[in-house]
Symmetry: C2
Subunit: 507 residues, 2 copies
């Protein structure tokens, strides 16, 4: 057999195995109603206070060109501070689409962001990683690859995310290239762009142009980026530079105030919500001025300090109240929104991590958050990407796919025929209805332990951490990369190497 035929046969075998191995789960489309907390009057009151902040307190924009754009479109600028009135804000917000589709290189993994749908993406940004074998350590590119692979393999994560951990063993000026390449090479789900510097954002756009084509990108979002507000009331030059790059490339951004109540915002839920709304809207308005109709996401990341110790708290009841409120604010403006995540302050995936993660993630699902960043793997207030935590969180996300389906109210859903089969004190396990549904009636966990105590002891008295540890190792051992066109891959590598040489880190 020729070498070419051999290669083709190998590839065919690989692709067949790949198709069989990946359990593709659609993104969530809720069949249950969205839950709400606030009255219309309460939403209006938050809106009003945030309009007062925008008009009277103002927001600092540390970028000359952005201030010029804002002034040219009707905002009042004094020094670095920009003041906007309600009419101006609402006029530009109205230009943003209520939902959009982000393309993935595998069209089966395109995601709709908006409406009654949720997209779950992994943890973003931790400098450290942690697992039960090696403890806590600096993240590397190998760890980055691992988390991209695990995300690719999870049927409950719909998006590859962005900085799944910081690849500290790569030079700072070029590691954004390695990260984007890894999302393309080791996954075929949609991914996020770089926001570390405007020229890094430009590199992300360039790599997407290689992958999707420049013309496609003017019509269709292909890379989603995370713009953090430097709260309180401040957009920094780095983020504003990235906004310009992505807005001009017509690519979507999540504008997220970074609010820890008591520090960057008042020590109150309502005050924090007003600031949240003012800051998010100010960034979204700028994007619409630069590129009217550019898809955007109303972002929020709100928690609070422990005011006696100054430490960050996750999973607090106050953060739950803010999440419900943020959902209603975003809906008022007809914008897709981001909140939630499986947050915890815990250093390890112990009971605290479990309690706190659900305290945040369940409300995020109940309000039907359109994009949930940090949906799996978050530990230690976001400083750590945890391998075992990632696995346990994915199981939780799986449960929410069943929640979203709601209740089947048909005669079959009521199991009417089963009642005729079972006498008082009898058992439904043997009914025809159970036979028809025993595979799909209920969510099946792959990390929770339901054994009897005696069996659990025989199996080694393993806790959640030990079970999850086994699972991620098994997944990585079984991982196979999705097919990637060789010419495309070569072109991406060529671009990467050129850029690495240009900034002095080329091989």
């Amino acid at each position: 057999m020729s070498a070419v035929a051999e290669t083709a046969r190998r590839r065919e075998r690989r692709e067949r195995r790949h198709a069989a191995a990946v359990h593709t789960m659609q993104q969530i489309e809720y069949q249950v109603p969205r839950m709400a907390l606030l009255s219309d009057a309460q939403v209006q009151r938050i809106h009003d206070i945030s309009m007062w902040i925008l008009a009277k307190q103002g927001i600092a924009f540390y970028d000359e060109e952005c201030r010029q754009i804002l002034a040219a479109h009707g905002a009042r600028v004094e020094g670095d501070i920009v003041y906007m009135d309600e009419e101006l804000v609402m006029r530009y917000l109205a230009m943003a689409p209520a939902e959009f589709t982000q393309m993935a290189r595998n069209p089966a993994n395109n995601v709709i962001i908006g409406g009654n749908r949720s997209v779950f993406a992994p943890v973003y940004g931790p400098p450290f990683v942690q697992d039960a074998d090696r403890g806590r350590r600096e993240g590397t590119l190998a760890d980055f690859h691992n988390f991209v692979k695990l995300t690719y393999m999870s049927p409950y994560l719909h998006h590859s995310g962005g900085t799944v951990c910081e690849p500290n063993d790569e030079p700072v000026p070029t590691r954004h290239l390695d990260m984007i390449f890894a999302h393309v090479k080791y996954s075929d789900k949609a991914f996020m762009g770089s926001v570390t510097e405007p020229w890094n954002a430009a590199d992300a756009v360039k790599m997407c142009e290689i992958l999707f084509g420049k013309e496609t990108m003017q019509q269709q979002p292909v890379v989603l980026s995370l713009i953090n507000v430097s709260s309180p009331r401040r957009h920094d030059d780095r983020m504003l530079g990235c906004i310009k790059v992505y807005a001009r490339a017509r690519q979507p951004m999540i504008v997220t105030p970074f609010l820890m109540a008591g520090a960057m915002s008042p020590a109150s839920v309502a005050g924090t919500l007003a600031l949240q709304n003012a800051e998010a809207l100010s960034g979204l308005v700028l994007i619409q001025m630069i590129s009217p109709g550019c898809p955007v996401v109303y972002g929020s990341f709100m928690t609070n300090l422990d005011l006696q110790s100054g430490a960050t708290v996750f999973g607090s009841p106050e953060s739950q109240l803010t999440m419900f409120s943020v959902a209603q604010l975003a809906q008022r403006y007809k914008l897709p929104f981001r909140t939630g995540g499986t947050f915890t302050s815990s250093k390890i995936p112990d009971a605290q991590a479990g309690y706190e993660s659900v305290q945040v993630m369940l409300p995020a699902v109940q309000v039907q958050t359109n994009f949930v960043l940090h949906a799996a793997g978050w530990l230690e207030s976001g400083l750590v990407s945890g391998y075992e935590k990632f696995i346990l969180d994915c199981d939780l996300l799986g449960m929410y796919h069943n929640w979203a389906k709601g209740i089947d109210f048909s005669d079959e859903g009521f199991a009417l025929d089963a009642f005729d089969e079972v006498a008082p004190g009898g058992h439904f396990l043997g009914t025809q209805h159970t036979m028809r549904h025993f595979r799909d009636a209920f969510y099946r966990s792959d990390t929770m332990d339901y054994d009897a105590y005696e069996q659990w002891v025989i199996n080694g008295s393993r806790d959640s951490i030990m079970r999850a540890n086994e699972k991620w190792k098994k997944m990585l051992a079984e991982y196979e990369a999705p097919p990637l066109d060789e010419a495309l891959e070569a072109e991406l590598l060529k671009f990467m190497n050129k850029r690495k040489r240009e900034v002095g880190f080329g091989k």
Copy 2:
């Protein structure tokens, strides 16, 4: 100083310390709206199917006198099976009050069960106990005392509960006496009665008569009891005997079908809800026939099997859907209701226990469950009362007290003056508003770890279990019993000893 004066002074000192030590927290009264899942038409559909079950399938009542009562009031009886039509069911349900107050021996701890209020009570029924030092073992009366004491000391448990663990070192025929005495002696919160045998229920009523007076009890509930339906479609003689005792003593009962979907009910959420409703209503109707207007609670305990292994699953998305539905059913009938708990299948308070507990407990709070049994301490599918789990759960319950308060929408709540003090990029920590609120702005956890990683390592890298272990020991070391009238105590002991002698276990 005379011995009498010395005793009086000691007692005074003790009572003063006691008043200072106990952090009394009011039961929850929600300032936020109750969350809902179903449309009115969907609630009606469940109601209709449950009426079909009651009218056409029937419910077995294994007690001759109860069947006679049911027949005398208009039900159709064939053998053991009782059939009721909708008109009959609704007529008797309408007699039950929408809410009632259960008295505690300390009137400050009376609890209102119904309306927009929640009462949290500890785990009920486990034969085993577990802690980090001694592992899993059979519960004893000493353990029972410990859990009563811990419940008494928690500001987040409003009710002393019932069988906080099984006191296996006491004889079965008399341990109900020891349990009720322990609730009276070591706590002054409201408590639950015995349902192990009708004559044990009668003992509970007698002890309450000593404590509260027989006449008071005809006007006012003082002991709440848990009637489990022997699902599917079956009330056993033991529970029916207890119903007669408590209904005639005018004391409230929770009627709870015990449904694990796939076993005692169909492998579907809707079918399980229909059976739940039919069974609960059938018991509640009987109580109203025996004692019209007797306070009752619409109970539910629903989860599902893992249909491949046959194991019980807690925290499933399906169980969440049922909880929301049950709340709406109970509201339709204008009845106080019970659901929820910090359920888990886990053997220890690990991440699984954390995830599962919040998966159940948060929805229970969101639907504003009037009585939450098993709100703290549940492990291993209810087979185990866990000391550390109890402590961690109480912290979670504390958070829900803040959730219930909702958001302060006043100008002070919006911290309007703080915005004038903080420039872009500034810090709200030093504002006057934060100074005014730093003690009460946010919930303060006493078991979660918020330390920096380095500090956490210095402190011994302790997980949730180790921190909770320290806390329950400290609480038990600091415990002081609430004052109890010596004559009352003597009379209770006299009754207990008489009853123990009568059944052959007296001293």
